[in-house]
């Protein structure tokens, strides 16, 4: 693996940071890294604050290496990355809201997570008392003839999470969408500070309920890397089994839901049955429909009995038997294809610029999958393909998910085949000195990053879980442009970004 710094920035490597290297850089190094992001030599994987420092995670697009950069900001300012690389803008706004860190020359400094309701400003930084009466939000100006605005949310018409969408339309055609998020901000990063590992792991599993396995997996891997311990082989395989079941459940449910948003309810009815069968199998095998709190730092909290393994095997068989007819149904229904083909195009350049993960990036030509590119056990021992398409429309996102369902079925076969016997868990330990680590796990929606620092006493000093949605939400605004208002639910569902994971 080549040094990610080479020819881009200089920085001092921090000892006691595991998983990936972390480098302390000066302002010059920070600016150089921002420029490398702008030129596409690096991809942004996260940006988060601390009391007097700012961190960013970067990936080398080719070569599968990653690093964390840290700039000390004693005066609470840092050179804005968003100034040259737009994907950083919302992350910088969030770092400002939580810590009071000011990105210099930032293109947009409107509050993001802070709606003026907390009764405190900079809750993780200076904690200044503030009124809780709410502050009005200024949407970006839109100019032109015959335009009208449609405000939607935060409470939506369906059973979905809250957020506000401000559409500007010319007749039926959307000329601009601007989202306002932050409604479900629960202050999870604040709750994690000073928490025990067990409590922080529980919170990590509640960042985004649909990805509870992925988050618990990423948190556990970060904690283990920081502490220098390894989960036993059987636990590692059980984790991957749960992760693939979670991917199956979400993909199956969403393929049906996307078709339902194109008024094709038959597909939803069939896919929802398959999804329910996955959840029931999870309950029978792991004791919880969503497998929450089953992955813990040090291993897993429950074993898979032979009956559970048999249930999983017969689930795979059942889905394999039923899937081809559904794929055919999707592919051969002209009225459905009419809605999904060519709708909600995401340009490959934008997917690459934003480092869009998951099926959103892969349907627009960005071939990244943390299971392959930043590989972790047991995926280094499993054979799978990462489906990639170039078209970037709703149809491509559906197809990528269909192909990923097939890959997950094959992975589950291999996992059951290779599953070793043995212990499920090792004890975590108190490190004695502060230790840190970063870990990335491929959830169904994309790459979930967890950065963690554990104090000498074994309590969490700082943890930042970064949802893939951070780099997907802004792209939805681009995708809907030029489409009709009625296609928004279809585009939105084909993205299915997490509100809770983003708002934290």
């Amino acid at each position: 693996m080549t040094d990610i710094r080479e020819g881009i920035f200089e920085g001092k490597r921090v000892e006691r940071h595991h998983g990936w290297p972390r480098f302390e850089v000066d302002r010059d190094g920070w600016i150089r890294a921002a420029e490398a992001l702008a030129h596409g030599r690096l991809a942004l994987a996260g940006l988060w604050g601390e009391k007097a420092a700012i961190h960013m995670a970067v990936l080398a697009e080719e070569g599968g290496s990653a690093a964390v950069l840290t700039l000390a900001c004693p005066d609470l300012t840092f050179p804005s990355v968003g100034r040259v690389h737009p994907p950083a803008i919302r992350l910088e706004r969030a770092a400002h809201d939580l810590f009071g860190l000011v990105p210099e020359d930032a293109p947009d400094l409107r509050p993001w997570l802070d709606h003026g309701r907390w009764g405190v400003r900079f809750p993780l930084g200076a904690r200044e008392p503030a009124p809780a009466s709410g502050v009005p939000y200024t949407f970006l100006p839109v100019e032109g003839e015959s335009l009208h605005q449609i405000p939607v949310g935060p409470v939506h018409a369906g059973i979905i999470e809250p957020g506000h969408f401000r559409f500007t339309a010319n007749g039926e055609t959307v000329v601009r969408l601007e989202a306002r998020l932050g409604y479900v901000h629960k202050g999870i990063e604040g709750l994690m500070q000073g928490a025990t590992l067990a409590r922080a792991a529980e919170l990590a599993g509640r960042v985004s309920g649909d990805s509870t396995v992925a988050y618990a997996f990423a948190f556990a891997r970060a904690a283990e890397a920081a502490l220098g311990i390894e989960a036993p082989p059987r636990a590692v395989f059980l984790r991957a089994l749960m992760a693939e079941l979670e991917r199956l459940a979400n993909h199956l449910g969403d393929i049906g839901a996307i078709c339902n948003d194109a008024a094709f309810a038959l597909m939803l009815a069939h896919c929802a049955v398959l999804r329910e069968q996955v959840l029931r199998t999870a309950e029978a095998s792991f004791g919880h429909r969503m497998m929450r709190d089953r992955i813990v730092p040090g291993g897993v909290a429950c074993d898979l009995e032979p009956a559970g393994a048999a249930a999983v095997a017969s689930l795979v068989k059942e889905i394999r038997a039923r899937l081809p007819a559904l794929i055919e149904l999707y592919d051969n229904t002209a009225s459905l294809q009419d809605r999904t083909v060519g709708t909600g195009m995401l340009k490959p350049e934008l997917a690459r610029e934003f480092g869009a993960g998951g099926y959103i990036g892969r349907a627009s030509g960005r071939s990244f999958d943390a299971r392959r590119d930043l590989t972790y056990a047991p995926y280094d021992r499993l054979a799978f393909e990462v489906p990639v398409m170039q078209e970037g429309d709703v149809n491509a996102r559906v197809w990528v998910r269909i192909r990923e369902v097939e890959q997950s079925l094959s992975l589950i076969d291999q996992i059951l085949e290779l599953m070793p016997q043995g212990p499920l868990r090792v004890q975590t330990r108190t490190p004695g000195t502060p230790v840190e680590a970063a870990a990335m796990v491929e959830g169904f929606r994309g790459d979930v990053l967890v950065w963690l620092r554990i104090g000498a006493d074994g309590l969490v000093e700082r943890c930042h879980p970064r949802d893939p949605s951070w780099f997907q939400w802004p792209l939805l605004e681009s995708v809907i442009e030029g489409n009709i208002v009625a296609d928004f639910p279809l585009c939105n569902k084909s993205f299915n970004c997490s509100y809770s994971g983003h708002d934290l």
């Binding site: 809780a132 202050g187 049955v273």
Partner: protein
């Protein structure tokens, strides 16, 4: 498509039998439903779901109520798009401070008689998010709650039991 539809005619029905209404929920509801009028409700409940800060797990299980195994509409329970059409607000939470006003407004927009059902452990008292600077508390800290369905998240069966208790009690009056 014809083949799939035809096969569906021959296959056994997936929909499961009605679970019995949850006893604890029936007891909780005895008070709340004293205010009801069966005449007004008929045999149906219209539900408006409000996510007041949940981590989206409860939403997934509420969605599952509509799948072929639970088929909630056979009981006259259905989800509506506007609080103006709703008898019941099904609220998941904790209630975040950023969602508090939206929840209050949704409650105000729902015509009486109305019931509020708090769904999930976090909706009861904030659960593992209690004490955060960004969390106002459980649903009952913001709007009056008639029924609590605990769970992490509650399974569709648990949700169904609670809702059936609500329907039965409303019926009994």
């Amino acid at each position: 498509m014809r083949k799939l539809l035809f096969e569906a005619l021959l296959k056994p029905i997936l929909t499961e039998t009605r679970p019995t209404a949850d006893d604890a929920a029936v007891a909780q509801l005895a008070d709340a439903v004293a205010r009801t009028a069966r005449k007004r409700l008929g045999r149906s409940l219209s539900i408006r779901e409000v996510d007041a800060g949940s981590s989206n797990d409860s939403e997934l299980e509420i969605h599952a109520l509509n799948n072929a195994f639970y088929d909630v509409e056979r009981f006259g329970i259905h989800f509506v798009a506007s609080p103006r059409h709703a008898d019941v607000l099904l609220v998941t939470g904790p209630v975040t401070k950023n969602m508090r006003q939206a929840l209050e407004r949704t409650f105000a927009a729902t015509p009486s008689p109305k019931w509020v059902v708090a769904v999930g452990d976090e909706a009861l008292d904030g659960g593992c998010f209690a004490g955060s600077y960004a969390v106002a508390g459980g649903v009952a800290d913001v709007v009056p709650v008639d029924l609590r369905i605990p769970g992490n998240p509650p399974s569709p069966t648990a949700l169904l039991k609670g809702l059936l208790a609500l329907l039965d009690q409303a019926d009994a009056r």
